[in-house]
């Protein structure tokens, strides 16, 4: 990881306390030398009847406590499979190789029993659909209290008190009363708060948010992201933010990993990535987003074709069939290398710096 100067923590707290429309930029969190999670050449394939899906093909990154790493890419690019591999949540058809070390412990190859010990206690996950993750027949407070008891030896009454505390911590209004409500009585945003409360019950050091705000309105998304950052400040949690939304990554992540067809195609500090996009796929993603600055009725730059079939990946650069910079060289797969300090990309013909800076 690069050693860019980082702003002092006090300044970040200041920023958090005064969230206004023109709030100053959030400085990067301190980047301690000791990462909490080191993922190295993680690979996942699914073996089926005569068909092997290569879902993750060599993912590497490291994440320090208190920092946020965004993994972005279109649907099917392997973001969720990679996250589930960390949690030991893949079906038995999955074959995982490579390494993911959490605080020194290797997560790849753990038995189901060992993996379960890490889940919730060390690493917790929040998914896109809170309605489906919650039990509709159980009061939300009871569900949180159960999660608390699963990770501690608190008795029933203490777990109840802790559950109310957690509901207050995620800013659910009237936590005492809400404790007794059922999921269907809550809005989508409130349910996601409950999911976060459950995720926090085991006081995890790593939180994986897989499209956790995708189903929410922008207004609610902003509230939930604010909540996650506040909790990160208080608890020092590291966050893996999985999303297809580049804007979300730009606003909230310290580092960004761009995935395409199960591979990392670009990786950098957030500011470096968006100021100096190198990989044509990242450039295409940025160009294709409708942006507020664009004129109504303007045509968007178009990338032809579709993502490749992961069960029949041709050799070479996976983006080649759709890339306007492709040459014969690209028939050989470009390696992911650190070409500029902290900025990694896998491309033979990286983009030059754009003359005009555009937003996301």
């Amino acid at each position: 990881m690069s050693e860019l100067a980082s702003e002092p923590v006090a300044q970040r707290e200041d920023v958090l306390g005064t969230a206004t429309a023109d709030a100053p930029v959030r400085g990067p969190a301190p980047d301690p030398a000791e990462p909490l999670l080191v993922v190295d050449d993680l690979r996942v394939r699914f073996v089926g009847r005569g068909r092997t899906v290569h879902a993750v093909n060599g993912l590497s990154y490291s994440l320090a406590p208190g920092r946020t790493l965004a993994i972005i890419g279109e649907s099917g690019s392997g973001k969720s499979v990679a996250a589930r591999a960390l949690m030991g949540l893949l079906p038995s058809t999955a074959r995982v190789s490579g390494s993911a070390r959490f605080d020194g412990t290797e997560l790849v190859g753990l038995s189901e029993r060992e993996a379960r010990r890490h889940r919730g206690a060390d690493i917790a996950m929040v998914f896109q659909d809170p309605a489906r993750s919650l039990n509709p027949t159980m009061r939300i407070g009871v569900q949180i209290a159960e999660a608390v008891r699963a990770h501690s030896d608190l008795d029933k009454a203490a777990a109840h008190r802790r559950a109310v505390e957690l509901l207050a911590m995620v800013h659910l209004p009237a936590p005492q009363r809400r404790f007794h409500e059922y999921p269907h009585q809550l809005s989508g945003g409130m349910r996601q708060r409950v999911m976060i409360a459950i995720a926090l019950a085991g006081e995890p050091r790593l939180l994986v948010a897989d499209e956790a705000t995708t189903a929410l309105d922008v207004t609610t998304q902003a509230q939930i992201m604010e909540l996650l950052l506040e909790l990160q400040q208080r608890l020092g949690t590291a966050i893996v933010l999985i999303s297809h939304d580049l804007g979300l990554a730009a606003s909230y992540a310290d580092d960004v990993v761009v995935m395409y067809a199960g591979q990392v195609v670009e990786r950098a500090r957030t500011a470096d990535l968006f100021a100096h996009v190198r990989m044509p796929y990242t450039g295409a993603l940025l160009g294709a987003i409708p942006r507020l600055e664009r004129e109504p009725h303007s045509l968007l730059p178009v990338v032809p074709g579709q993502p490749p079939d992961l069960s029949a990946l041709p050799g070479g650069c996976p983006f080649r069939p759709r890339c306007s910079s492709a040459t014969d060289e690209c028939a050989e797969g470009p390696p992911l290398r650190e070409h500029e300090p902290g900025h990694w990309w896998a491309c033979w013909h990286p983009l030059p710096d754009a003359p005009v800076k555009e937003g996301v």
Partner: protein, 356 residues
């Protein structure tokens, strides 16, 4: 058909700018039965919504989930008809038509929905799917027209004509849905989250297709999405819905550059991303509180429980849409004056505000 670079082609004698559709005072309410311990009541899905769509124009509709966008679209096509109010389309009030006449009028008005797979019969081939609306209205010599339509939406008829929906990607299915929608030369296409389930690179292909069809066929769109930037991309004018009412309607560029309703400003302030000018992250400013329940909307202004500008008057008097700038109407007692920092300027007397 020739491609027009600018503006729109006159179709069937309609000139761009003329009113194609006028909706007035649409009200839609749904009784909800008591279930799981919740008291029954009435969902106020639309409470007096009025708007126009001009020929060749795209009206965008944005708003949070449950604000009534889909209900609005369904009220326009009379499925189901609104509880009250009128929908005058090409001079005819659709709410007064009987079934047969309505079917005839509906030919000019087509829908494209969010779920590309769910809206197509999985057993049919693409050519049959595109032929169906033509057959339904007794069009003859359909084969060449089907091929022409598939070409128009960028699907090679010889490659895709015999495929079934599950043999295609989401973006391709959405193209088939669009081919069906334009098959009968409609005047108006209603898109309800029509590109929301597509990935960004596919989404831009489909958005450009909508844009090309608008230019070539002179279509008008009612374009619904929760994504504000996406709506701006395609719209001439934008309507902002909040809890069954219009908060603000105005020219797209003016509304996004200078939102006058605090709710519009809050929506814009919630979008994460990078600032185009500085290249620095934009830090969204969350609204405080939860969206109110449509079962029991607040008195006065329905936004007042979350509004940073709310004052006493907002709790007692319901704001109505007032023209604050040319073609730009706002339902707020204390609208934002563009140029002042949002929410920070002291609410002045609304009556004093004229054009910027």
């Amino acid at each position: 058909m020739t491609t027009l670079e600018k503006g729109t082609a006159p179709v069937d004698g309609r000139r761009p700018g003329e009113e194609l559709l006028s909706a007035r005072d649409l009200v839609q309410e749904f009784p909800v039965r008591a279930a799981g311990g919740v008291r029954g009541g009435t969902v106020h899905a639309l409470s007096g919504v009025s708007f126009d769509i001009r020929a060749g124009e795209t009206l965008g509709v944005v708003g949070e989930t449950g604000s009534g966008k889909s209900t609005l679209a369904r009220s326009v096509i009379q499925a189901p008809p609104p509880r009250s109010g009128s929908v005058v389309f090409e001079g005819t009030d659709l709410t007064r038509l009987r079934r047969r006449a309505l079917v005839r009028a509906r030919r000019e008005m087509q829908m494209v929905y969010q779920d590309p797979y769910g809206s197509l019969n999985p057993r049919w081939r693409v050519s049959e799917l595109v032929e169906e609306p033509l057959r339904g209205y007794g069009v003859r010599d359909r084969g060449p027209r089907v091929a022409e339509l598939l070409d128009m939406v960028g699907l090679d008829p010889s490659v895709y004509g015999r495929r079934r929906p599950h043999e295609m990607s989401g973006g391709q299915c959405q193209r088939v849905a669009i081919a069906r929608a334009i098959a009968l030369n409609p005047a108006l296409v209603i898109c309800d989250e029509a590109v929301s389930s597509l990935d960004v690179l596919i989404q831009s292909q489909v958005l450009n297709l909508f844009e090309r069809l608008r230019r070539e066929l002179g279509l008008s769109y009612l374009f619904i999405s929760h994504d504000l930037a996406l709506v701006k991309q395609v719209s001439d004018r934008v309507a902002v819905m909040h809890l069954g009412q219009l908060a603000e309607v105005g020219p797209a560029e003016a509304l996004y550059r200078g939102p006058r309703h605090p709710y519009t400003a809050a929506l814009l302030d919630s979008i994460p991303g990078l600032d185009a000018r500085t290249g620095r992250p934009r830090r969204p400013a969350p609204l405080a509180g939860e969206p109110p329940s449509p079962l029991d909307p607040p008195s006065g202004c329905r936004f007042r429980t979350r509004c940073p500008r709310a004052r006493e008057r907002c709790a007692v008097e319901e704001p109505v849409l007032v023209e604050r700038a040319p073609d730009h109407r706002v339902a707020c007692h204390f609208p934002i004056e563009p140029g002042t920092p949002t929410g920070a300027d002291a609410p002045a007397d609304a009556a004093e505000r004229t054009t910027p």
